[in-house]
Amino acid sequence: MKNQQILPITNADEINNLLRRYGVKFGVYKNGQFKEQFFPFDPIPRIIEAEKFKVIESGLVQRADALNKFLFDIYHKKNIIRDGIVPEDFVYISSGYLPQCEGVTPPENIYSHISGIDLVEGKDGEWYILEDNLRIPSGASYPLIARELTRAASPDVFSENGIVDNRNYAKLLKDTMDFVNRGGINAILTPGRYNAAYFEHSYLAELTGAALVQNDELFVEDNMLWQKTYSGGKTRIGTLYRRISDEYLDPLTFNPQSLIGIPNLMEAYRSGNVAIINSLGNGVADDKGIYYFVPKMIEYYLGEKAILKNAPTYLPFYEEDREYVIKNIHKLVIKDVAEAGGYGVVFGSDLSEEKLESFRQTIINEPRRFIAQEVIDFKDLPILENGGQVMRKADLRAFVLSGETTRVWASGLTRFSRNPDSFVVNSSQGGGFKDTWVML
């Protein structure tokens, strides 16, 4: 399959109308108000050639495997700390590290069942990892339904072009849920329709045949998780796919104020009676500070060189790096390790000299709180705007599923910035998305 022969999608408006009809939205909280936004779809796909995808795939499998081994190690023997590969401060000060999970082994030793790994393609053609998301990353449902609707609106595009069918995501997810299931049904726990990813919850529940549940119908008895049935009985849940943060998941173990959690879920989980997707305590591995150490982790656990590169990263925690960051802050991107969703990301080039100076002080005072990265000159992708094509920054969130084996979904969520000057592509910051075609 050659690029130049690709048959284009010509009916973008129809597809966007269909997406609206199916309720493909995500929620945003702005100034204390909940708003639902339509997630704009751009019909020009990102195309990844088969050869190139093979490299990405093996790099992602390697990365997800190493991260799972790291999580197991941190909550058990901690060899990687003992051997001096990762400094202990980075692990134990991380807000994602949960001492309550010490010694707790998730079913089949899998911590990150769904890893959402964000990459960008540099102008040099090399792919770089931007960050790992191991706490139930969302987004797979958008390209999934877009592909479904595009197939309906432009069937010839898919019969003429050799594109890998990506409609197996639901199967991959179901296989993963089944593999770790401890007896009972699979269920997807949603905080409700005001959650940012509510569309995704309901769509994935429908596609995987899992029950879509809320916390008020769940309870733990005999250290097993149950769903109340309408007839007054109960159904056991063996796998719970959740999108509630760890600290709200069980008010009897974590934040006692939580009204969206399930009391004693931790007891059921620790007893090995329910699998939780993703497992608890994963935040310690997708901490922006830990990111720096992932290539070292891959060597440490797998004895292999990392196939995919990290963006060049500096940790102000190390004196040498701190000096570099202070000196070069104007050309770096600084990230607050505790923030997500494109918040807490600052480009030095956007700041006045005065602000830079105060930021330098903040970094000196709290070196553990930040990482700094070189701004990668990543490839722009064409998008349609007002009938013409313009070039915009875009990234790719790839989904890696860890079950019996580790598999990469041959697709992904390509997000782009609609603002020509912005490098930030997060959907919560007003970006759009594209389909990602992996070619046969």
């Binding site: 309550q100 999970c101 009897l252 009391p263």
Partner: protein, 260 residues
Amino acid sequence: MKTLNFSFATKLTFDNYVHSHCFALRCLPIESNSQHIVNCEMNISPFVPTKNTVDAFGNNVTAGYIGKEHRFLDFEINGCAEIDLSKPKTDYMPCYLYPSEYTKPDKNLVDFYNEISVKCNAEKPYERAVFFSDILSDLIRYEKGVTDTKTTSVQAFELKKGVCQDFSHIMLSLLRLDKIPSRYIAGLAVCDGETHSWIEVWDGEKWIGLDPANNCPVNEDYLVLSQGRDFGDCSIDRGVMFGAYTKQLQLITSSLKTAY
């Protein structure tokens, strides 16, 4: 070695019916090198099947669920334990070196730490802890009713008063600033009609108990119920229930006596 008989009872009464009541109790004493539980019986009323597990900190957790409407929850433990401090505990966790929810210091507490730590000539962790405890016992007044179970070390330090839990929390803040791993203990002490709290200090290879509220070493008159980073990991009972607005009344009685 000392043999202690212990008993502990809690009566929770609600002034209206509640249902779907989920609870987790941490009141079955821990089995450890220095504490052997010879026997221990637990009774919960109304009758409810329960499950016991051991949490990450080594605590016994008794979990239960009462779906039906009820107006009270009573539980009690009775038993006998052998305490032998010549066999120290060695179960270490790295989190005991870092600030936790209740023990995160603020600027005041850090300033106070800087002020007293320069005066401390002791080198061994436990001796340093004793030095800090001496200062606290002069500075903080033991007073009931001014703090509650939500009070942090920062708040108690500002008030300069509190109960055993607050003394423990302030001590933990200071010790962790001093890079000494230390942990919170909830338990029973002889000559104390209620539950008590004290701390343990890691001296590099074992835990040594210290009772900051009484400013004295921990001897074999203490029974450990639970341990953790702070009160949050050790609460004797935590629960969530549903019902119309209800007040709850909790009565606790306990006794710890040397067995002859």
